[in-house]
């Protein structure tokens, strides 16, 4: 009998780990944040009009970064729109600002207020305005207040995690089913490459490259996914009808699919894709959530229902738990096996299409080592490698844990060799917990 804490840990352990990791990285990446860009410009314009009315005269000072440029432009537009007189708008290094401000102070209609971007407000020019430009002394410098917030929890970082995880998490669904049925699939990494190369190649050579119509692109991607499903079906057939261990078969298919991807692409990256091709990988049409993440969510819900509510799901568990008992209970074991391998390969194909869309190109180098990350996500998610046990939603948690660890280490500046060591240790620890569970 295992101690209570261990039992709790093994049941909801990974959720707890995930929460702890998020808390840890939130604390470790606390930093001063400021609102820049268009949102910042808009907010500052509102603040100035609200505090000083529209009769005020404003000078805008911003740095030379792109973010500051957008900030200054939006601020100026908004102020002008409200009838505020903008006497000066300067974007550039402090020297340029100083020159412009010096010219300004000699005229009579000087500004009532200087609106500065966050970075410009920290220049010594504006901080010590009284001393450096005595004629402007007394004119207030306004900017948006900064606030303290973890870099980890910034929206853009969270979306970044979600985007990174989408490919791995989607393939991990298929891998969960394969592992629950008592198998393994090492070929998914190469199938990512094969699918990405095939999809982009078809778009370039058969669908008018940059001028490809959306419908044609969808067909090309579906074709790539179907080819992957075919590869999976073939793998499944060899595993099922010739009783070859799946480890060996899929190891072979990993090489075959990788070689095919290289051959098809002639070892080159494939470009010449229409702008709209990035819709899946970079678009975010639903309340700012990336499309790939929405797809991931849909697939997880579907897979969860499949595994918990349908006969097919029950059969997958039974085949993994005891294939002979399942057969003698009338389960068509062969079909179940064919299905899981085909599905896993098809989902690897989907992953390849997403990756091609994210990177707007296809190359045979995509997806290298991904099979290991995918298997790691499944195992960390609590699925037993001996088959018959595991949960799809556990896999999602596992994939999140791995993504959060990698992202957090990036944010806190851990070098990549250490990242590998930490990730590897976590995978070993997860399997250890699995064994401890089995022993009790």
């Amino acid at each position: 009998m295992m101690p209570r804490w261990l039992r709790l840990f093994s049941n909801h352990g990974m959720v707890a780990v995930l929460v702890l990791l998020c808390a840890f990285y939130s604390a470790a990446t606390l930093a001063e944040q400021n609102i820049g860009g268009a949102a910042g410009g808009e907010a500052l314009a509102e603040k100035i009009i609200h505090e000083r009315g529209s009769g005020v005269r404003v000078a805008i000072v911003a740095g030379s970064g792109a973010d500051d440029g957008v900030f200054a432009q939006v601020l100026q537009d908004k102020l002008v729109e409200a009838g505020v007189q903008v006497v000066l708008a300067v974007k550039g290094p402090p020297r340029a600002a100083r020159l412009a401000l010096t010219k300004l102070d000699s005229t009579t209609a000087g500004p009532d207020v200087i609106a500065a971007s966050y970075s410009a407000s920290r220049w010594s020019l504006l901080a010590h305005l009284d001393k450096l430009l005595p004629k402007l002394a007394g004119i207030p410098v306004v900017r948006l207040p900064s606030y303290v917030w973890p870099n980890f929890l910034r929206t853009d970082n969270l979306l970044n995690i979600a985007n990174q995880i989408a490919v791995i998490a989607i393939i991990a669904i298929g891998m969960t089913l394969v592992i629950v049925s008592g198998g393994i699939d090492l070929s998914v990494g190469s199938l990512i490459a094969l699918s990405a190369v095939l999809a982009t190649l078809l778009i370039r050579d058969a669908a008018n490259a940059e001028e490809a119509a959306p419908g044609a692109m969808v067909l090309c991607c579906l074709a790539a996914i179907l080819v992957c499903a075919g590869v999976g079906l073939f793998t499944g057939a060899i595993v099922t009808y010739f009783a070859v261990p799946p480890f060996i078969v899929t190891l072979g298919m990993m090489l075959v699919a990788g070689g095919l991807a290289e051959k098809l692409s002639a070892n080159q990256s494939i470009y010449h894709l229409p702008e709209s091709f990035v819709w899946l990988g970079r678009g975010a049409d639903l309340a700012g959530i990336p499309n790939a993440v929405v797809l991931m969510g849909l697939l997880y819900v579907t897979a969860h229902v499949l595994m918990t509510r349908t006969t097919l799901g029950r059969y997958i568990y039974a085949v993994g738990g005891n294939a002979e008992a399942a057969r003698l209970s009338g389960v068509r074991v062969e079909r179940v096996r064919l299905f899981v391998y085909a599905l896993c390969a098809a989902l690897a194909g989907v992953g390849g299409v997403i990756m091609a869309s994210q990177l707007k190109s296809g190359a045979p180098t995509y997806g290298q080592m991904y099979e290991l990350y995918v298997i790691a996500a499944v195992v960390v998610g609590g699925t037993s490698l001996s088959g018959g046990e595991g949960r799809v939603m556990g896999t999602l948690i596992g994939a999140l844990v791995i993504a959060v660890i990698r992202n957090g280490m990036n944010l806190t500046g851990v070098e990549s060799s250490w990242q590998k060591i930490v990730l590897g240790s976590i995978i070993v620890a997860a399997v250890l917990v699995d064994r401890l569970k089995a022993r009790n």
Binding site: G321, S329, G330
Partner: protein, 490 residues
């Protein structure tokens, strides 16, 4: 001389008191049988002796020296060897290599010495086994001898045998008894665990009975009989071992003609009538299980037809058989009948999902209701339906298997060794269920090696030998075990 003295052994698991102050005494040169129903605490007691389980309290003395509990290594060094039902042999190593595995000294193997020492051990046991044979090429009985020789090579003085006869044929059991008598003569103490009362009367000097983790008593074998032992085990008198059935078999229901597969099953034909229990018996390897598997479509048959209620069936795989109304309760319950790590609910539902699913979606409330009915009807003792069947007793596991086939309302039910590994009280329940099925007009084929069971339960008996049916006994009431044995050995 007292070889082993265990006293006041307590062991509890959460919710279960597995052993309660159990004591045991073993003398040199005797066979002590340990008897008890499943869950009575036999295996926990043996594990405590072997160090695989650390008891909560109690002492173990071997030849007067105290043994530190909970250490398998110490127990082995003190001369305790346990031969489990699943052997601990490396299949790709030879008999001699297995015997000395873990005892090799130095860097280099002394193969010639090992081979000779192994041959000496086999002579000492009075058996013929080739020391150079690979273990995977040896049959079960020979592997068992290798295990015993391995125990002797490790200078064991106490050998525990856990159900050693479960997978042996009658002749092999006789030979095993020869080896045991040889070991007795050499002053070893043997602890013999078995369900088979006949064997205990044949080999044991004393018998110790456990019930619900408590020591009921230890008797000289001459001072007890079958009934009193059963009473000690069950705690009450069982009026009848085999319940009477009041069904008059009707017309032919299930007909098998000319069933063949390679040299395992040759031209097997028989019929079963409505409400009839037909027993199929014979030695292990005589083709009984193979016949059942052919009928069920688990193996491909070379020839033969199967007909139910006058209609010929097309059976190419188990799925076909199940749909046609045939059920098979396999001999190997754990390996083939159940998914051990899965719940009672899932195991019960596996062949039946179509009853309560629509477009592939399972209605779990209907599923649960169906199971609840069988849990009540069959008196399945499982904490809850989500519990893994692994944790159930053998009898309850068998009931779960039975429930899943009852739900399908099969017309033909094939039981392969229905009571193997099941304790006396649960056996009676299984027999009653078989009688119920017969009363419902089903055709029942019961494969069994237990001759008392065959004689007690069957309406008619078929005997197989080397893949052929060599005899039929119509008048079961007047048949004897000897008569059947004669048919079985050909």
């Amino acid at each position: 001389m007292t070889l082993l003295q265990m006293a006041g052994i307590d062991k509890s698991y959460p919710g279960v008191q597995a052993l309660r102050g159990v004591g045991m005494e073993l003398r040199a040169g005797e066979v002590l049988a340990v008897l008890g129903e499943n869950g009575a605490g036999k295996s926990t007691l043996i594990k405590a002796l072997a160090g695989a389980v650390n008891p909560d309290s109690g002492t173990i003395h071997i030849s007067g020296t105290s043994l530190r509990t909970g250490s398998p290594h110490e127990a082995r060094r003190a001369g305790v060897a346990v031969i489990y039902q699943e052997f601990n042999l490396a299949p790709a190593l030879t008999a001699a290599e297995n015997i000395f595995l873990g005892q090799e000294a130095g860097v280099w193997l002394q193969q010639a010495d090992e081979r000779e020492a192994a041959a000496r051990l086999f002579r000492r046991l009075g058996v013929e086994v080739d020391p150079d044979a690979l273990c995977r090429d040896l049959n079960i009985a020979q592997q068992q001898v290798v295990e015993i020789a391995k125990a002797l090579a490790a200078r064991a003085r106490i050998i525990v045998m856990d159900e050693p006869s479960a997978t042996l044929t009658l002749q092999e059991v006789e030979r095993l008894f020869g080896v045991i008598r040889e070991l007795k003569k050499q002053g070893l103490g043997i602890i013999y665990i078995s369900h088979r009362l006949e064997e205990i009367f044949a080999i044991a000097d004393r018998v110790m009975v456990l019930r619900d983790g408590e020591h009921v008593g230890t008797r000289d074998i001459g001072a007890v009989d079958r009934d009193s032992l059963i009473e000690m085990m069950v705690g009450r008198r069982l009026d009848q071992e085999f319940p009477a059935r009041h069904v008059v078999p009707g017309n032919q229901r299930f007909v098998v003609r000319g069933l063949c597969r390679a040299d395992k099953v040759c031209d097997v034909s028989f019929h079963i009538r409505r409400g009839e229990v037909l027993a199929l018996t014979g030695l292990i390897g005589s083709g009984r299980t193979e016949t059942a598997r052919l009928i069920f479509g688990a193996d491909q048959r070379d020839a033969g037809t199967i007909a139910l209620d006058g209609k010929e069936l097309r059976v190419d795989c188990p799925r076909d058989a199940i749909r046609a109304g045939i059920a098979l309760l396999t001999e190997d319950r754990k390996g083939q009948g159940l998914v051990l790590s899965h719940s009672v609910q899932d195991n019960f539902a596996l062949p039946n999902l179509s009853f309560w699913s629509r477009f592939g979606f399972i209605n779990r409330r209907d599923e649960r209701m169906a199971l609840d009915r069988y849990v009540a009807d069959l008196r399945i003792k499982a904490g809850n339906p989500e519990q893994a069947v692994r944790n159930l007793s053998g009898g309850n596991q068998q009931k779960v298997v039975l429930a899943k086939w009852l739900q399908r309302q099969c017309a033909v039910v094939i039981f392969d060794e229905p009571t193997r590994g099941i304790d006396v009280a649960a056996k009676l329940e299984i027999y009653l269920l078989i009688n119920d099925l017969a009363a419902q007009g089903k055709a029942i084929l019961m494969i069994s090696s237990e001759l008392p069971e065959v004689l007690g339960m069957a309406d008619r008996i078929l005997v197989m030998h080397r893949g052929r049916i060599t005899g039929e006994v119509q008048d079961v009431a007047r048949a004897t075990q000897e008569q059947i044995m004669k048919l079985a050995v050909g």
